[in-house]
Symmetry: C2
DNA sequence: ACGTTTTGTGAAACACGGCTAACTTTTAGG
DNA sequence: CCTAAAAGTTAGCCGTGTTTCACAAAACGT
């Protein structure tokens, strides 16, 4: 199955949390995304079926394939947030709205846009959201 | 009820088609958006309830309120398409992907982004998509 | 004016992604 | 240990937005 927007969000949050914490549990993802643990449970099941994550006894981690997507999403997130912030949008609004923009473009288009606009640095997920 | 992404798409397409054709029927919207006429029928019912469109015997047209949204969406559409095309994305991909980007930002953020990046001209809906 | 084709609508179903509630399993404190 | 809290799962529901299929209503050609 193709990855949907929400799936990409889950992968991205697992990536961010694993950079921050090392081990990521479902409950962490739920808190990070502001959804219930039941929703995470469902999502993880389908993401595991599609080969994007693996669920250990008490943790979730990205597969190679999932990591690739997650990093890409994070890259885009940073790009759009940075762009919006430079335009004068407040940090939290930029983060919120960037979250949606990051799903709109194909890999190819995104690279072209970034090449034109610059701003390539990726923020370290470790500190703030 | 608040307008969803799909509602905005319907309004925008009614706007574009009415600029091109004058009179817009459900079937035109269906073809333009690539959905079934049943979908349009349903969508029009809820958009009419919310005061965005009015349905005549054999046409649909935007209310004042609907027109405002539609124009705004079209403006954004043009902005993002233009941006992507300048970045080297092909016209049809740009149009496709711009269709999604146009729903991501608040009015405020969009204006800031446009102020920073320029490219304010709005394309006349009359010719191509 | 009639029948055919086009257009619009209604009902039922599905996918998706969320929720709550109830349950099970794990973890961890005393 | 053993129990209480935390974490995870399962089942069932809801809203949104599609679809298909059957049908109704208009429009149109001859």
């Amino acid at each position: 199955m193709a990855l949907r927007e929400s799936g990409e969000d889950y992968l991205e949050s697992i990536y961010v949390l694993s950079e921050r914490q090392g081990i990521v549990r479902s409950i962490d993802v739920a808190e990070y995304l502001g959804v219930t643990k039941a929703s995470v449970s469902k999502a993880m099941a389908t993401l595991e079926n599609s080969g994007y994550v693996e669920m250990g006894k008490r943790d979730v981690h990205l597969t190679e394939r999932g990591l690739e997507v997650a990093r890409q999403m994070w890259e885009r997130h940073c790009f759009f947030v940075r762009l919006l912030e430079e335009a004068g949008v407040s940090a939290d609004v930029a983060s919120q709205e960037g979250c949606h923009m990051e799903h709109c473009l194909s890999e190819e288009s995104f690279e072209k846009l970034r090449a034109m606009l610059g701003r390539d640095e990726v923020t370290d997920p470790t500190p703030g959201a």
